[in-house]
């Protein structure tokens, strides 16, 4: 009887872990990411993610945000300068490198950007992925 009970708890438990926990991890990361965005990104990319016209490119509904996670992590770590094309428009401001953010902060802010203002890019960026791209 105890065995049956244990199994009946473990099996739904596995389903719960595999199905819901990653979603919860992502939603918590997005929530933390909003704070990181407000402090470190918003003054150029704006609260609504639309950027500054002709100067700072949008992150909201931006084709650039669909680039691979590795590329996006690289932009935060190394910054960006020189001409860049976003949604068919050229931009030429400078984005400062922000390696002083923690692995978790970078993962969180990118998860926030990839899931806000109409952006919906599947997958979760993890702090481990950020760590792997840091130049030591």
């Amino acid at each position: 009887m105890i065995k049956v009970l244990a199994i009946s708890l473990i099996i739904p438990g596995i389903f719960l872990l595999s199905g819901f926990v990653p979603d919860q991890t992502l939603s918590e990361s997005i929530k933390r990411g909003k704070e990181v965005y407000t402090l470190y990104c918003q003054s150029c990319h704006m609260e609504d993610g639309k950027g500054t016209p002709d100067i700072n490119p949008p992150v909201a509904k931006a084709d650039y945000v669909k680039k691979p996670a590795m590329t996006l992590i690289g932009v935060v770590l190394d910054g960006q300068s020189g001409e860049v094309v976003v949604n068919g428009k050229k931009y030429n401001a400078i984005m400062a490198p922000q390696p002083y953010l923690t692995d978790e902060q970078i993962a969180d802010v990118l998860n926030y950007i990839r899931n806000s203002w109409g952006n919906k890019i599947s997958g979760t960026i993890t702090p481990a992925a950020v760590k792997a791209l840091r130049k030591t």
């Binding site: 002709d54 100067i55 300068s81």
Partner: protein, 152 residues
């Protein structure tokens, strides 16, 4: 080096600088407009805020080549006699302590009130998040922006 004709505070200024020179250094070093301050150099503090076609931007991260035909307004050109509603409210509330950040604070506040003449407290805080004040005069800054919004 390259030559640029920049519209700054209603006048056209001619400068010969490297295309990637940040506008902050064009203003301060080449045009002697030192009201705009250098703080962090990485768009994280807001001290170098200017207006580009009315929008608040960080001049330290803005290469001169990106300006094109847009017009620049600095603190020197915000008002003729230092009487922009935000500047008047600044005096009324004695906002400045050391004063280093206030150029950027005033430029950000003026840009906010231009697009949103009656901001809520939350909207003020959101718009001003990128402007850091090491003396911690945030409460007076917020009060001054509220006063300036009423004056308009």
């Amino acid at each position: 080096m390259a030559t640029y004709n920049l519209k700054i505070n209603g006048e056209t200024k001619n400068v010969d600088v490297d295309p990637m020179t940040p506008v902050l250094w064009v203003l301060r070093e080449h045009l002697n407009l030192t009201g705009t301050k250098y703080g962090c150099g990485v768009a994280a503090c807001g001290a170098c805020t200017i207006h580009l076609d009315g929008a608040a931007v960080r001049s330290c991260q803005l290469p001169v080549t990106a300006i094109g035909t847009k017009s620049i307004t600095t603190i020197e050109g915000l008002s003729a006699n230092g009487d922009h509603p935000v500047q008047k409210a600044w005096l009324e509330h004695d906002v400045a302590q050391c004063g280093y950040c206030q150029t950027g604070q005033i430029m950000s506040a003026a840009a906010l009130l231009k697009t949103n003449p009656n901001p809520t407290e939350a909207q003020i805080e959101t718009a001003m998040t990128g402007n850091i004040c090491r003396c911690g005069t945030y409460l007076r800054i917020r009060d001054a922006i509220k006063s300036a919004a009423k004056q308009k």
